[in-house]
């Protein structure tokens, strides 16, 4: 389509972004839906503990394993705790795991990758080797190993998730930095006497940033799934902390006996969150780079 080669009219950058976002959403209503969900999740994460009708840790053995009803919208678990409250309160922890691991890998992978792409040579080789080594592990097993070895804490789950995603970020950042290293504006900055580090910080990083942000949304979903998987084999967060993965894993034993709500609601919450992050990632990708959409 050679016809749109003409330069776009100048607009206020923010207005342009809003306009563009509106276009993306109109083109892709699913993204709009995902964005609404995302807002809901953030709200639940921030306000969760203030919104729920019950203390998520409070047991009530006379109310154990009650199916969903007016008092307990999602029913109660084996110890009579309100599943609705637990699911809502869990949002914060799951959101934290997702965000923290993604931010961590963003920093680690982003910097390593940019450095590798920009400096090349030994830096590139070392980063490449580390990424290759991690890739050669089945990722979930590596995460399991890290959590088992370092100990069973939220912090270590975050670290493990970040490590297994490292190659992805490092590679994307490396490729972007590599392309931009030779780009005209970098050349210009270099000629005007900027140091490598300055160029890296002010020319390369801001350009690599949006591409990685897209990836972040996709990885957030993976982080939650990863934590859930770890919970299933007994390596997740400590009980009785509410967390979706561990609730599904523990609720799973009640599926056959008919108390489906134990696993169903946390499972649904988990699915909705992961689903939302994935769709949002797709949408962001559209906004950042229309041609890259996959």
């Amino acid at each position: 389509m050679s016809i749109v080669a003409a330069s776009p009219p100048r607009e206020n950058a923010l207005a342009a972004l809003i306009k563009h976002s509106r276009y993306v959403i109109s083109e892709n209503p699913v993204t709009g839906f995902a964005f609404a969900l995302f807002v809901l999740i953030v709200l639940a994460a921030v306000l969760g503990p203030h919104l729920v009708p019950y203390d998520p840790l409070q047991s009530d053995t006379s109310e154990a394993l009650k199916p969903p009803n007016l008092h307990h919208l999602f029913g109660t678990d084996q110890l009579g705790r309100d599943i609705f409250s637990r699911v809502v309160v869990a949002t914060r922890l799951d959101f934290f795991i997702a965000v923290a691991s993604v931010v961590l890998v963003f920093v680690m992978g982003g910097f390593a990758g940019v450095a590798a792409g920009f400096f090349g040579g030994w830096t590139d080789r070392i980063v490449g080797r580390i990424a290759d080594t991690i890739m050669a592990f089945p990722l979930f097993v590596l995460a399991m190993g890290i959590v088992a070895a370092l100990g069973n804490t939220v912090q270590n789950i975050v670290i493990a998730t970040a490590i297994v995603n490292f190659p992805l970020y490092a590679r994307i950042a490396r490729a972007e930095a590599n392309v931009r290293r030779e780009a005209g504006f970098v050349e210009a900055a270099r000629l005007s006497g900027n140091s490598d580090w300055r160029i890296l910080a002010f020319q390369i990083l801001p350009n690599v940033f949006p591409i990685l942000v897209v990836q972040m949304s996709l990885t957030m979903g993976y982080a939650i799934l990863n934590a859930a998987g770890l919970s299933f084999i007994g390596l997740g967060v400590r009980p009785p902390t509410p967390e979706w993965g561990i609730m599904v894993a523990e609720g799973a034993q009640f599926i056959v006996s008919g108390e489906w709500w134990n696993a169903f609601f946390p499972g649904a919450a988990l699915m909705v969150a992961v689903f939302c992050f994935n769709l949002l990632g797709d949408g962001l990708r559209d906004m950042v780079d229309p041609r890259r959409r996959t």
Binding site: M1, S2, I3, V4, A5, A6, S7, P8, P9, H20, Y23, V24, E27, P290
Partner: protein, 337 residues
């Protein structure tokens, strides 16, 4: 023009829906060409030459939409034809060759098989006989050692050879109209001439009409009998080649001719056309899309463009056209609607 044209395009309009707005890519484009005639569509890149061809072929990409007009191939309006009718016409009655022949061929299929695919689809050739026929086709387009070349992949061949292959594909079903979209772009100068000669020879052998799309006015002048000049989705001038060069009436055409490097002209005289194409996404596009860069702009330019007189041989869409040197005594060749 002729009573029974090979192709007649009337009031073709095309829009593209993009993330930054609707692009009014073509606006009331009309022209026609007679059987056996060679017509050149000329314009800067972005002027809508290729879009016109794609619209006629029904291969606009999914964002593009024909919003009006007809393209008559005999009795069939290509723009409203069913996909099946179109697929039957394409390749069989109209064929097209493209620029950048190396990317325009399937990279993982041998050229012989690509020709054979066409022969089987349109040429009534059996699957078994197709490979041999394909070799013959390659020979016909002047490829040496065609039997060996038939087994080669596009990446193993030069650009010129790929273009020959593409011509072979296009002509496999002996169509009555060939659209050649910048067929020589990306080829070296000697190859360009050879390819153009080949197209010309084959066209006259087969009695085929040809639409030749190019940004190179000089090349168009050498190779076509009629030239349609396009600018920003409008046809600005449509005339016999000799007439156009001798007597350009649209200010844009005149600028183009002046900008064309020609051995006869002094390089010093080469002037660039000021300004660039307007943004076709604008809602406030002026009726004449050249008016914003036009040195001859007048108040009348704010009115809708003048309509061509029916049957006119030299059409110019301008309120303030250059004087018609051939008919200077007469009033402007166009009249207001």
């Amino acid at each position: 023009m002729t009573a029974d044209p090979a192709l007649s395009v009337e009031d073709l309009s095309v829009q593209f829906r993009t993330r930054s707005g609707v692009v009014h890519a073509l606006d009331n484009v009309s022209f026609s060409l007679a059987k056996g005639e060679t017509l050149a569509l000329v314009g800067e890149s972005g002027s809508g030459k290729s879009v016109t061809a794609y619209a006629v072929m029904g291969i606009l990409d999914s964002a593009g939409r024909v919003t009006g007009g007809r393209a008559m191939l005999g009795d069939l309006d290509l723009l409203s034809a069913t996909p099946k009718q179109l697929a039957d016409v394409r390749g069989r009655k109209i064929a097209m060759i493209f620029q950048n022949p190396r990317t325009a061929l399937n990279p993982i299929r041998t050229v012989g098989r690509q020709i054979a695919d066409m022969l089987i689809r349109h040429g009534g050739v059996s699957r078994r006989a197709a490979p041999a026929h394909a070799v013959e086709m390659l020979r016909a387009v002047g490829i040496t050692d065609p039997a060996r070349r038939a087994k080669a992949y596009p990446f193993e061949m030069s650009g010129g050879m790929c273009q020959r292959v593409m011509i072979a594909i296009a002509l496999a079903a002996k169509p009555s109209l060939l659209i050649a979209d910048e067929p020589t772009t990306g080829l070296d100068v000697t190859t360009q001439a050879v390819i153009m000669d080949l197209i010309g020879d084959l066209a006259s052998d087969l009695g085929m009409a040809t639409i030749f799309i190019t940004h190179d006015l000089a090349l168009a002048g050498q190779r076509s009998s009629r030239i349609v000049v396009m600018h920003a989705g409008h046809v600005v001038e449509n005339a016999q080649t000799k007439d156009l060069f001798a007597n350009p009436r649209h200010p844009y055409t005149a600028e183009l001719i002046a900008a064309t490097p020609d051995s006869a002209q002094n390089l010093d005289a080469l002037s660039a056309i000021p300004g660039s194409l307007p943004d076709l996404r604008r809602a406030d596009l002026p009726p004449c899309r050249y008016s914003e860069r036009c040195p001859r702009k007048v108040a009348a330019c704010a009115q809708p463009l003048p309509q061509a007189a029916p049957g006119a041989s030299h059409i110019v869409a301008c309120w303030n056209a250059l004087p018609d040197r051939a008919q200077a005594a007469y009033p402007p060749a166009v009249s207001a609607a």
